[in-house]
């Protein structure tokens, strides 16, 4: 077994373990993520609070588990949505060419030029205020999925152009396949490594974007934790250096991102 394969197995095992812990947060977490132990704000790790408490006295271990569930489950969903949009539109642009290609690429360029962050801020401001936390979380990731496809589309479009004149497509066309059939039965299956790579790349990107959104007060709302709002605790650098266990969410985020990168199909794999 090569070292690379070994690393991949480790990464997969690690991701599965984190995912299972997050899924079982209701059972594993010792406390509610929202309960404030007001006599113990910013406490150090103890037997009762494994990762200590945050500034409001909430159990950090419980919050980390629930936060992982929110970020780790919804980021792949958003990545899947973005990859699907990029795949279909990119393949259509690359295969059909002409007016279709120009229109889709113009929309893509426009989307890439738009400042995503301001767009998200504006969209959040337009949402009604009295939405449930779960709805807010889903809406955030939905927005990420709906707005996060343009860069992936460019890659898919370029890959489709490469195969546009290939023999198997010529054969399919000559046997009477229409554009939709060509895209879904011929092009997309052939672009599977590219689409998979885009999917895996998008997951850590969306996790980090959600973290940024939470730091701006968007996205997941208090008291529901996410990696984003847990990372906000790291803004107070002197407090973090005095209480190094506060970096636990960051360590977990880095670990998960590395794991995703390790199991990502590389260029060599595609070849």
């Amino acid at each position: 077994m090569s070292a690379k394969r070994g690393l991949r197995i480790c990464a997969t095992f690690m991701l599965c373990a984190v995912g299972l812990l997050a899924l079982g947060a209701n059972i594993v977490a010792p406390y509610s993520y929202a309960h404030q132990f007001r006599d113990l704000p910013s406490s150090a790790p103890t037997a009762t609070h494994l990762l200590g408490t945050d500034t409001l006295g909430r159990d950090m271990f419980s919050r980390l588990l629930y936060g992982t569930r929110v970020s780790l489950l919804l980021a792949p969903a958003a990545a899947l949505l973005a990859t699907l949009i990029a795949g279909v539109l990119g393949a259509a642009a690359g295969l059909l060419g002409g007016w279709w290609e120009r229109s889709i690429l113009a929309i893509t360029d426009l989307s890439m030029a738009l400042p995503l962050l301001f767009l998200l801020i504006a969209l959040r401001a337009m949402l009604p205020l009295n939405v449930e936390s779960v709805v807010s979380v889903v809406a955030t990731f939905l927005m990420l999925g709906l707005l996060g496809w343009p860069s992936a589309l460019r890659v898919v479009w370029a890959a489709t152009r490469n195969i546009r004149q290939s023999d198997f497509l010529l054969l399919a066309r000559s046997s009477g396949s229409g554009p939709l059939r060509l895209i879904f039965r011929q092009v997309l299956p052939n672009l599977r490594p590219v689409l998979l790579a885009q999917f895996w790349i998008s997951i850590p990107v969306f996790i980090l974007t959600e973290a940024t959104l939470s730091m701006l007060g968007l996205g997941v709302m208090e008291p529901l934790p996410s990696w984003g709002n847990l990372l906000r605790g790291l803004e107070d650098f002197p407090a973090v250096s005095a209480n190094p266990w506060r970096i636990a969410p960051l360590v977990l985020l880095i670990l998960v991102v590395i794991c995703f990168q390790l199991i990502l199909p590389s260029q060599e794999d595609s070849v």
Partner: protein, 545 residues
């Protein structure tokens, strides 16, 4: 050591200490402005950075002592306000000169007041003096006497002159010629403002030495508070005017002598419910928000002590009402201290027809009591306060959802669409006098946040507040005004349109090298007495760490 050697050593030590004792410190004090000054014209000042420069450079007729909160003679030796509160007569100090050497006379005061009140100038400082239609009349019978008559009586007239820096009518330097302790010698946009000692400043210390002691002040323009703190720690700055509780705590751990707490300040944080009749909210929710018992119950259920202890690390005090105890004259000391009583809150709610069962509060119609609390995003302190309020209110069965919005969206909802249920924000108080906050308390005011711009007062208690606020604004004697404003505070306490939470402490950082600093709760907190500040004989910049 021989006796003579000892004597010599003592003389050397005395000489070394002499400069500080005589007040001849010199040196340049460094600290930061948190924004670009928009103007150096004291008449047009409308931002904090320009306000700070006006304070350091402007000469005023009457100065409000930031420590005693009493009025003291400035450029005017004495003054007299007429019985009808419309006319004020100043007797000016003789022989004073502007920083460029131009003589100071009553003509300059007249010119300043006319410019200030000119409607074409749009002076924010002048707005405070506008009490009625018509122009002001300025008489200058002699070079050292000036009489100003306003079209109508002006409440707290003398106090307003603390903001009026006198301009020179004859100086070729116009507004750059000043009567304050320093003058602006250099300004590099985005970088710094350099102030130099005004050699013609009129004040002297008790020993007759000319003030200010410092040679100058360098104000670096720095918006980033973290960088400011870092530079202070490095010793590049000697003073930070306002610190947040966390930074203060860290500094205090490093060096307790550096961190200074002036006590509870004038600023407050509070929540309020949207009571605007046209607001796009469910009618049953509007009915809760208009119920006094509901608002009082919410107030009783919030643990303000916990907020002070946890969110502000103890550097805040539970707020009594609209006026902080730091505002010594206007604070109504008869108001009871804020209470935390969730059981009492439940009793009040049940009396008002609400039902509490299975940890949920419902109204008469069976609607679950829940609301959304909005606050501005990016403000971690308010977000923490909101999270604590959320838990406190859950104990009486009220479900609170916290939503953070960017400030423009929040203002849009507060002032135009009224599409919000409850809001958590703060009020920055720079004025001690209640006349400065008329737009908050008058039902027709745009800052009457719970129900602004009312054509007629919606409730009898708002009608009473309107009457009292107008009466206090036109009353002359401070005693009468205080009595009326005390009643306004009492009404606010009884009705809780604003549920006051905390008054934050005024926290500053001052290098041990700066002598004479006595931070106060009033702006400018740490350098209000800049003319008597000194740098130690061997100035050590900033904290040691």
């Amino acid at each position: 050591m021989k006796p003579r050697a000892l004597r010599n050593l003592a003389v050397v030590m005395l000489l070394a200490a002499a400069p500080l004792a005589l007040g001849q410190s010199g040196g340049v004090l460094h600290f930061c402005l948190h924004g670009e000054p928009k103007t150096f014209n004291p008449i047009l000042v409308d931002d904090e950075a320009s306000e700070n420069i006006r304070y350091l450079t402007g000469g005023v007729l009457i100065r409000l002592n930031r420590q005693t909160q009493a009025l003291e003679p400035g450029l005017a030796e004495s003054w007299h306000v007429s019985k009808d509160g419309r006319t004020i007569t100043f007797r000016l100090r003789k022989g004073l000169h502007f920083s460029d050497g131009t003589a100071f006379t009553s003509e300059d005061v007249g010119y300043t007041m006319k410019t200030l009140m000119d409607p074409q100038v749009h002076s924010p400082t002048g707005d405070a003096f506008r009490s009625g239609e018509g122009a002001i009349d300025v008489q200058t019978p002699t070079p050292d006497v000036v009489t100003i008559t306003f079209p109508a009586s002006v409440a707290g007239l003398e106090r307003l002159f603390d903001q009026v820096a006198i301009l020179s009518v004859h100086s070729p330097q116009k507004e750059m010629a000043v009567l304050g302790p320093f003058y602006v010698s250099e300004y590099k946009a985005g970088l710094y403002v350099e102030l130099k000692r005004n050699p013609n400043y009129w004040r002297r210390d008790a020993q007759g030495h000319p003030l200010p002691y410092l040679d100058g002040i360098r104000l670096d323009i720095q918006r980033n508070r973290d960088i400011e703190l870092l530079r202070f720690r490095r010793g590049e700055l000697q003073l930070i005017n306002r610190l947040d509780a966390e930074s203060y705590q860290h500094l205090q751990k490093d060096d307790p002598n550096v961190a200074r707490n002036a006590g509870a300040g004038l600023d407050s944080d509070h929540i309020w419910f949207n009571e605007v009749p046209s607001a796009p909210l469910a009618e049953y929710k509007k009915a809760w928000f208009r119920t006094t018992e509901f608002r009082k119950a919410v107030s009783l259920a919030i643990n303000r002590d916990d907020i002070c202890r946890i969110v502000f690390a103890g550097y805040a005090k539970p707020a009594y009402g609209p006026v902080s105890p730091a505002n010594r004259f206007w604070f109504n000391a008869a108001l009871p201290a804020p209470k935390y009583d969730p059981q009492g809150a439940l009793r009040l709610l049940i009396q008002a027809g609400f039902r509490f069962a299975n940890d949920e509060l419902r109204d008469k119609a069976g609607n679950r009591v829940e609301f959304t609390l909005v606050t501005n995003s990016g403000n971690t302190v308010r977000e923490k306060m909101a999270a604590m309020i959320q838990q406190d209110l859950s104990q009486i069965g009220i479900k609170v959802s916290v939503v953070t919005l960017d400030f423009p969206s929040l203002i849009e909802r507060m002032t135009r669409t009224f599409d919000y249920e409850a809001c958590l924000l703060g009020l920055v108080n720079t004025d001690l006098d209640p006349s400065g906050v008329m737009t908050v308390w008058l039902s027709s005011g745009e800052n009457h946040q719970w129900n602004p711009n009312q054509k007629n007062p919606a409730t009898p208690w708002e009608a009473e507040m309107d009457k009292l606020m107008r009466e206090q604004a036109s009353a002359i004697a401070d005693k009468d005004r205080k009595k009326k404003f005390d009643r306004v505070q009492q009404i606010i306490y009884e009705q809780q349109p604003f549920i006051y939470l905390v008054n934050r402490d005024v926290l500053t950082a001052v290098s041990p090298a700066v002598v004479g600093v006595a931070p106060t709760v009033l702006n400018p907190q740490a350098f209000w007495n800049a003319d008597v500040l000194q740098l130690g004989p061997a100035p050590q910049l900033g904290a040691q760490k």
